[in-house]
Amino acid sequence: MITSKNLTFSYSPQKRFNFPDIACNDKEALLILGQSGRGKTTFLHLLALLLQPDAGEIQISVHNLSGLSAIERTKIRAKNLGIIYQRAHFVSALSVMDNILLSTYLAGSKQDKEKASYLADELGFADHLNKKTTQLSQGEQQRVSIARALMNNPNVILADEPTSNLDDNNCQKVIELLKKQSSLIGASLVVVTHDQRLKDEFPNQVFL
């Protein structure tokens, strides 16, 4: 579960963002739509605890996140959040399998190879586990990053433009997998996008 209240953030006095309140329960999905320059990524980074808001509150699962230190926020992020970025990025020196395991290693949880293989099977890239990530297509890469986000059984999955670099076919696949997998582990799914193709996929929507 993730909620936000009265979030504001400014990069400079002229550029100030006021974000709408959101609430997304476990197993629910929320789409945040907005054009470029409306602070979509900033909003997502606030929710992902990568940025500190000027004012307002965020609650993730049972944790109220006001007044936490940077290290505590990092820990909560690692344990409770799965983040999927616009372009899938990886540690290029490592194989697909190791990139997936990396998130468990860095979060300090068990490095479960079976689970990684299972997710790879579910998401359809089981043949590529020993390849380097650069050898995969964009659609495949995005599916790998979904698997990586799911490894720690997060409470919330945040996706920043997960489909904007994908063709219609892959877009459909990726969004279905996201919805299915996040409800399977009982997580809230928050997708931030300008991609109009996703409009009809989510009943809950917020406009920036």
Partner: protein, 412 residues
């Protein structure tokens, strides 16, 4: 999955960069390590053989040459001196021991040295088989000679004139092997020892054709001496031990001023030789240090560049729960792995170099330098390499503490 594995993967990802850094370090460390090894072992070899010899007397000429030829048997002798003058030194109260040496012939490149049993006693050479030479034309072989020329006790052989194996053979007089020494680790190993009379006997009867007369040939001069003054016996040089160090102060000057001989002090000449070699060694060492510093710069540049490329990866790992210190350690580990790799292969390289050098030295001088164990100085070298790796990695990696996660992730 752990930090070490990620570091290794990162190094493998940049194979050529890593290779270059490690290669430079290998060369630098290898050179320094080889210099250390050579320096130590040459020093040991040289010191071992002069132990207990306070002074050498021989014909006038270069004192260094006299030392090299009489103690180490690697240079030509300076000439001959009358035995009577050498014996006159015995009257000096400071002189404890005189070991006369007479050389000029060889067998297959191994020098035949006429001397007295005192020489054997001085190097504490023990007989392995047979007996020590006693009659003229009897010889006892050093262990290395015995191994190389395949002579057994009772075998006879003809020596060749001069100090190279291609001299004329003295076919009319044959030496007879009566014994073989145990290995001593000293110059005795590479010598054929006989008594003084053998050397005189060989050259008394040898008829030399005029065309064979060579300038500065000690054996030849000796012969000339023999023909002109039959009565006067000559030797090449003599090793002298003093009863106490006071002898060093007066005797060398007396000899140099009042006799036809010169006196040379081994410790002084060897120090002189080493200070001459030292210039070359210092230059090489400076060069090796420069290479090592370049290796450090190479580690720095390759990490700096790869860090710029991997900025996003770093931000990603930070967002997934890595602490900045953890990533900093990961980068340090990359520098350390390079340093250790460079050090190990450098030490290995120096051993290969030593083996090659030793082979060449054995062929030319019959000396072998084969001590491959790790020197204490090389542990300092390891510490130095680690510090270098750490520093070269730490400088560019400090940027990790300034990385803005959100901006880096948003930018790409």
């Amino acid at each position: 999955m752990n930090l070490f594995k990620i570091s290794i993967a990162n190094l493998k990802e940049k194979k050529l960069n890593s290779f270059l850094s490690a290669l430079l370090l290998t060369l630098g460390i290898g050179m320094i390590s080889l210099l250390l090894l050579l320096n130590k072992q040459l020093d040991e070899q040289f010191r071992r053989n002069i132990r207990g010899i306070d002074m050498v007397v021989g014909a006038k000429g270069s004192p260094l040459q006299l030392i090299l030829s009489s103690i180490y048997q690697i240079d030509s002798p300076t000439g001959n001196i009358p035995l009577s003058e050498v014996n006159a030194l015995k009257r000096n109260p400071f002189v404890k021991n005189i070991i006369p040496l007479s050389m000029g012939d060889n067998y297959h490149g191994f020098r035949i040295v006429g001397t007295t049993p005192k020489y054997v006693g001085h190097f504490q050479a023990k007989i392995k088989e047979g007996t020590l030479f006693s009659k003229p034309m009897d010889v006892t072989l050093g262990s290395k000679v015995a191994k190389n020329v395949e002579l057994k006790i009772g075998d006879t052989f003809a020596s060749s004139h001069g100090l190279d194996s291609d001299g004329d053979a003295h076919n009319d007089k044959k030496y007879k092997v009566t014994g073989i020494f145990e290995p001593t680790g000293s110059v005795v190993d590479q010598l054929v020892l006989t008594n003084l009379e053998s050397v005189w006997e060989i050259h008394e009867h040898a008829e030399m054709p005029a065309s064979d007369i060579k300038e500065n040939d000690p054996a030849h001069e000796e012969e000339m001496g023999e023909t002109h003054h039959e009565a006067e016996k000559q030797v090449t040089s003599a090793l002298i031990q003093f009863r106490n160090p006071m002898g060093l102060l007066t005797i060398p000057r007396q000899i140099n001023q009042n006799t036809s001989m010169q006196a040379a002090l081994p410790s002084i000449e060897i120090n002189r030789l080493f200070s001459l070699l030292g210039v070359g060694i210092d230059t090489l060492r400076a060069l090796a240090l420069v290479i090592i510093i370049i290796a450090g710069v190479s580690v720095f540049i390759s990490l700096y560049n790869s860090l710029k490329e991997r900025k996003y990866e770093m931000a990603l790992m930070l967002s997934m729960g890595a602490t900045r210190t953890k990533l900093f350690l990961m980068l340090l580990l990359e520098g350390l792995i390079l340093a250790v790799t460079g050090y190990l292969s450098g030490v290995l390289l120096s051993r290969v170099g030593l083996l090659l050098f030793s082979r060449a030295a054995e062929q030319d001088f019959h000396y072998s330098i084969r001590e491959f164990s790790l020197l204490p100085e090389e542990l300092y070298l390891l510490a130095g390499a680690l510090v270098l790796g750490l520093l070269a990695a730490a400088l560019p990696s400090l940027g990790i503490y300034r990385l803005n996660i959100s901006r880096t992730l948003a930018e790409e």
